[in-house]
């Protein structure tokens, strides 16, 4: 299982990277963390004419706070995020989700931009981007644009990115100071892709909920923002009945696929169960802060 032959480039800047992508006319792939791409290359399921390695571009890795957003350079390692104080304080949902991403050695290399560009709907980061209403900054020969989750993720492993575009930054609005949060997932083994995962954030007090945000992993070809489940909570508060209603509604909102690990029906069941658990845990955190 050795990779096929490809041209290898290590550009010094993002613009050089873009120029290379343009030159190869869609036949080049970006190499970020490599934790998703390298297996595809080793299985020879992917045969790009060239790899454009972003790792040497040091300016693409950073974590900054700016105008109420936390901004991540696309090449920021998941491991860096996992242990970042800024992230723990301002985006604790992301900290929790990061610890669930595969295993520590994968997080050593994996990047936030790479995870989002790979767009595996079973991954944690796309769900968090969706729940927190974040965005990515994309640069190409035609300039820069900003995409939210709904525009970025088109289908299984497919984004809106053009072949000559690069995610350069990921922006997540800082969570409210007393927000409750939880990332609840179920997988075959510890560290595997979630069969279903739920990212939850609650802002409110007591039984009232001002803001509820819920998004899925593993419950369809893209992360699903469970808006009408959120509305139940924002309208009816955080009673047991409302939580159950939101969980049931969540299951109605997803159209999961079946594969050898789990059927659509079972994934719908998991959506309901995990939404309930995520909400209860988020609520407990909200009440304790």
């Amino acid at each position: 299982m050795k990779p096929p032959v490809f041209d290898y480039h290590a550009p010094a800047t993002v613009d050089e990277a873009i120029a290379l992508l343009t030159r190869y006319g869609g036949e080049a792939k970006l190499l970020a963390g490599g934790q998703s791409l390298m297996p595809l290359l080793n299985f020879r399921l992917s045969r790009p004419a060239a790899l454009v390695d972003l790792n040497p571009i040091a300016s693409l890795a950073y974590i900054r706070e700016d105008q109420g957003e936390i901004r991540f350079g696309a090449m920021t390692r998941q491991r860096t995020i996992e242990f970042s104080d800024v992230v723990r304080q301002r985006l604790p949902l992301l900290t929790e989700a990061t610890a669930l991403v595969a295993h520590l050695p994968i997080r050593t290399r994996g990047t936030i931009g790479g995870s989002l560009a790979h767009a595996d709907p079973s991954a944690e980061y796309p769900a968090v981007l969706t729940a927190l209403e974040g965005s990515v900054v994309v640069r190409g020969p035609r300039g820069e644009r900003r995409l939210g989750s709904a525009d970025l993720f088109q289908s299984y492993l497919t984004t809106n990115l053009q072949p000559d575009e690069v995610i350069v930054e990921v922006r997540l609005p800082a969570m409210a100071a007393g927000a409750g949060f939880a990332f609840e997932e179920f997988s075959r083994r510890h560290g595997d892709f979630a069969l279903v995962g739920i990212a939850a954030m609650l802002v409110g007090d007591g039984e009232r909920c001002r803001t509820a945000r819920l998004a899925t992993a593993g419950a369809g070809p893209v992360p699903v923002r469970l808006r009408s489940a959120e509305e139940i909570l924002e309208r009816d508060g955080l009673s047991e009945a409302a939580l159950d209603a939101a969980a049931r509604r969540a299951a109605e909102l997803v159209e999961p696929d079946s594969d050898i690990h789990a059927s659509a029906a079972y994934r719908k069941n998991l959506t309901r169960v995990l939404t309930g658990r995520a909400l209860r845990r988020a609520m407990a955190i909200m009440r304790s802060r």
């Binding site: 075959r188 050898i260 690990h261 789990a262 029906a265 069941n269």
Partner: protein
């Protein structure tokens, strides 16, 4: 000089392993680490089709290009290698011919169709990509029961059937016994297909020495001796010019005990090309082609009287053998063991079981730790629990009423196997004590609406270990597995080299056999070096498999060690001018009992033996070494009871193992660390079989579990702490009193876990009939019970 008569025995001591130093420091030597001058690398083109005629192979694009690539097909190999034909004397057995490279047909997805040699594996894979093969796909046989029927696609047309073997065992009149039973429980059980997944993939490096006319094969195998004999035959070489070496081997579990087509191919290619050929299998190849296991469909029925005594047991077993009967074991190895061990450690007066081994277009089935017994235990222990529920009896009490008692031993089972010893009742009672079984069973039942349930499951089993020449490891197969030899040689420096035909792959032979030899000869442990895995270096033997090394290798070690010790004492006595019966020897020194200053070190004895011939007793042959062979003839039964405590989350449909207890009768233990490691390692594979692992093929024979993300083996998180306790009764039947301990974990764990889940779900009316119990399967079982009309995903 103290009299070391009081030194604790090395046999039974928790000695730390001699193997560890090199393995911990990255200095192991696995096949992939070996380099030979002029070596080329091999890759195989493999059929993407489960069943297809091979019309044409066009390698022109592959051989044109950099890197000096050569492509070989079946036609090139045919003059140099005969096909593998696993023979059996079993009636009703059909021979299937397995070539090193497929010629007219590919019979499973992944079967090797062409071999490519290049300067690097990278270049070889590039060339594989450029070979063009015209296939005419054929319909695939993918289910054994339908593959038995007329009109099914035939995997081997020349034998005109897909039924490779059939066998029945009968004792008494089971029909009458069942008819007269107060309680009858029956079910259809499915134990799905599994894979051993050793962390080191299969690999082989072959070198042909044209000058000496000699072949050497370094291969990741458990059975160098078996391979040597087989390769000499298939490659038409004189056996004394074939050497097979198993260097460090990264796990085998039975899967590396067959001769594989790739091993034959690299040998033939090395001869053809005149350069050493190295093939390092990758994980894709491993999951596609390494032998698979335990795939049986079983209908079984148990009949009991009103007091819970077993009257009769009946079973039909369909085994999915895959495309070939493996070499040299034959396909019978797995299927027959299911029916011969099904009655378990119980009194079963009337028994009838029939097994069919059916060919399908899948990778071949072969032995995997436990071989048939994990499946038979799952079925029988499942029937026992069903009977207990029906009778309103406690499952432990029902077992106690039927387990063979010590006073009934030796006991002849309904399939003709004899249990020479066994602590069936004792292991059950002690396991129950260990988990405080009575209190657990007396606990008030969970609230009917509880979403988390607990369950307790028992599995008791008996197996044969250290099987000698009286019993074929694989019925009908023409291979001798009942003996092993040991050569123990003391060199003039007084250190001891002991060579075996065994081939260790994690079991710690270099430590355990050294413990035996050091103890029996009378030297320090560090004075003994154990050599294994090389047909050039040891006596004739087959290898390490079937839980036999402690018994048979250990027995041979004892015999050879005693012969050496006896001779050494004769020499010492002659030198010291005493009667040999007045001598002690330990720690590498012989001394006169009661007069320890009258002593002679072993090195001195040895120098006398080799160089001081004039000072030897009259007519004594020089030298200080002995080769002895041991055949335990029948072997010895080992048994255990496993108890699993599980938690089932009805919402997630998940099963977690809360606690796991084993009480085993492992005979006389050589090294408790190693015995415990074998048990726990086996439980991990058994847990995987019960909850996680399944080789999945589509209906048209396409493998769907092609990576380690799809075929999921347990991590450290999925494993509970396992408590292992022993009944230490030496075997009455083996020299040394040892029993085999390698396979118990996988034999007991699937059944114990299945029974625990069934116990947790019994109040919901859910039975467990199929393994693995994946969350998806559990969801469907719970869902079906909730709503009669359920939309199930395909």
């Amino acid at each position: 000089m103290p009299e070391p008569g009081a030194a604790p025995s090395l046999i039974g001591a928790p000695v730390k392993r001699r193997e560890d130093q090199r393995l911990l420091t990255g200095r192991g030597r696995f096949v992939a680490d070996l380099l030979r001058p002029g070596m080329v690398h091999a890759a195989f083109l493999r059929s993407p089709h489960a069943h297809a005629r091979i019309l044409r192979i066009d390698a022109t694009a592959a051989t044109f290009g950099p890197g000096g690539v050569a492509v070989f097909t079946a036609d090139d190999l045919r003059p140099h290698a005969r096909p593998l034909r696993a023979l059996s004397r079993m009636r009703g057995y059909a021979v299937t011919e397995m070539p090193a490279l497929a010629s007219d047909k590919a019979r499973y997805a992944g079967e090797a169709v062409a071999a490519v040699l290049a300067e690097s594996r990278y270049a070889a894979e590039d060339a594989v990509d450029r070979i063009v093969v015209d296939y005419a796909p054929l319909p695939a046989a993918s289910d054994p029961r339908t593959a038995m029927a007329d009109g099914s696609p035939l995997v081997h047309e020349e034998i005109k059937t897909n039924v490779i073997l059939s066998r029945a065992f009968s004792q008494g009149d089971v029909t009458a016994a069942l008819a007269g039973s107060a309680v009858r429980v029956a079910d259809r059980f499915r134990f799905r297909r599994h894979a051993a997944v050793a962390i080191e993939n299969r690999a082989g490096l072959a070198e042909w020495d044209a000058g000496a006319g000699a072949l050497t094969l370094w291969t990741s195998t458990q059975v160098p001796g078996m391979l040597r004999e087989a390769l000499a035959d298939l490659l038409l070489l004189p056996a004394h010019r074939v050497r097979v070496v198993a260097p460090d081997v990264g796990g085998g579990f039975g899967m590396k005990s067959a001769l594989y087509p790739e091993e034959v191919a690299v040998c033939a290619l090395a001869r053809l090309l005149g350069r050493p050929v190295k093939w390092i299998g990758d994980r894709r190849e491993d999951l596609l082609t390494s032998t698979q296991a335990w795939d049986e469909d079983i209908e079984a029925e148990l009949g009991l009287d009103g007091d819970g005594r077993i009257l009769g047991l009946r079973a039909s077993v369909w085994a999915d053998l895959g495309a070939y009967s493996i070499y040299p074991w034959t396909a019978s190895i797995e299927a027959i063991q299911v029916v011969s061990f099904l009655p378990g450690p119980y009194r079963v007066p009337h028994y009838h079981a029939e097994a069919w081994g059916v060919a399908t277009n899948k990778a071949p089935m072969g032995p995997y730790r436990g071989v048939g017994r994990p499946v038979s235990t799952f079925v029988m222990e499942g029937l026992i629990d069903r009977a207990a529920r029906r009778l309103g009896m406690d499952p432990a009490a029902l077992r106690l009423a039927n387990l063979i008692r010590p006073d009934e031993l030796p006991y002849r089972s309904p399939s003709g196997l004899v249990w020479d010893s066994g602590a069936f009742i004792e292991t059950l009672e002690r396991a129950c004590d260990a988990v405080d079984y009575a209190r657990l069973r007396a606990a008030p039942p969970r609230d009917a609406a509880a979403r988390r349930r607990t369950g307790i499951g028992i599995a008791s089993y008996v197996e044969l270990t250290g099987v000698g020449s009286a019993i074929p490891a694989s019925p009908g197969a023409d291979i001798a597995t009942g003996t092993e030899g040991a050569t123990v040689r003391v060199d003039p420096a007084g250190t001891v080299t002991a060579a075996f035909g065994l081939a260790c792959h994690g079991q710690g032979h270099e430590t355990t056999l050294a413990q035996i030899i050091a103890q029996e000869v009378g030297v320090e442990l560090d004075a003994v070096r154990v050599v294994h895995g090389d047909t050039e270096a040891g006596p004739i033997g087959t290898g390490t498999y079937a839980s036999r090394s402690a018994v048979i290798g250990g027995g041979a070690a004892i015999l050879a060690s005693r012969a050496v010790r006896d001779k050494a004492l004769l020499i010492a006595a002659h030198r010291l001018e005493v009667d040999p019966r007045d001598l002690e020897m330990a720690g590498g020194v012989a001394w006169v009992r009661g007069a320890p200053d009258r002593r002679i070190p072993l090195s001195d004895i040895a120098r006398t033996a080799y160089f001081g011939v004039r000072r030897l007793p009259k007519d004594m042959e020089p030298g200080l070494e002995a080769t002895r062979y041991y055949d335990p003839y029948i072997g010895t039964a080992a048994n255990a009871t496993h108890i699993a405590l599980v938690e089932v989350d009805l919402d997630l449909c998940s099963v977690t193992l809360a606690r796991y207890v084993i009480v085993e009768d492992a005979g006389r233990i050589i090294n408790p660390l190693i015995v415990e490691g074998q048990a726990i390692g086996g439980v991990a594979q058994g847990l995987g079989a019960a909850l996680l692992e399944e080789v999945v093929y589509s209906d048209d024979g396409q493998p769907l579990t092609g990576s380690l993300m799809d075929y999921v083996i347990p991590t450290a998180v999925e494993m509970p702490l396992v408590e292992v306790m022993h009944v230490e009764q030496p075997s009455p039947s083996t020299l040394g009193g040892f029993k085999g301990v390698g396979e118990g974990g996988t034999i007991g764990a699937p059944a114990a876990i299945a029974n625990a889940v069934a116990n947790a779900l019994a109040p919901l009316g859910v039975e467990i009939t199929e393994l693995p119990i994946t969350p998806e399967r559990l969801f469907r079982l719970l869902d079906r019970r909730r709503e009669p009309a359920v939309e199930c995903a395909p």
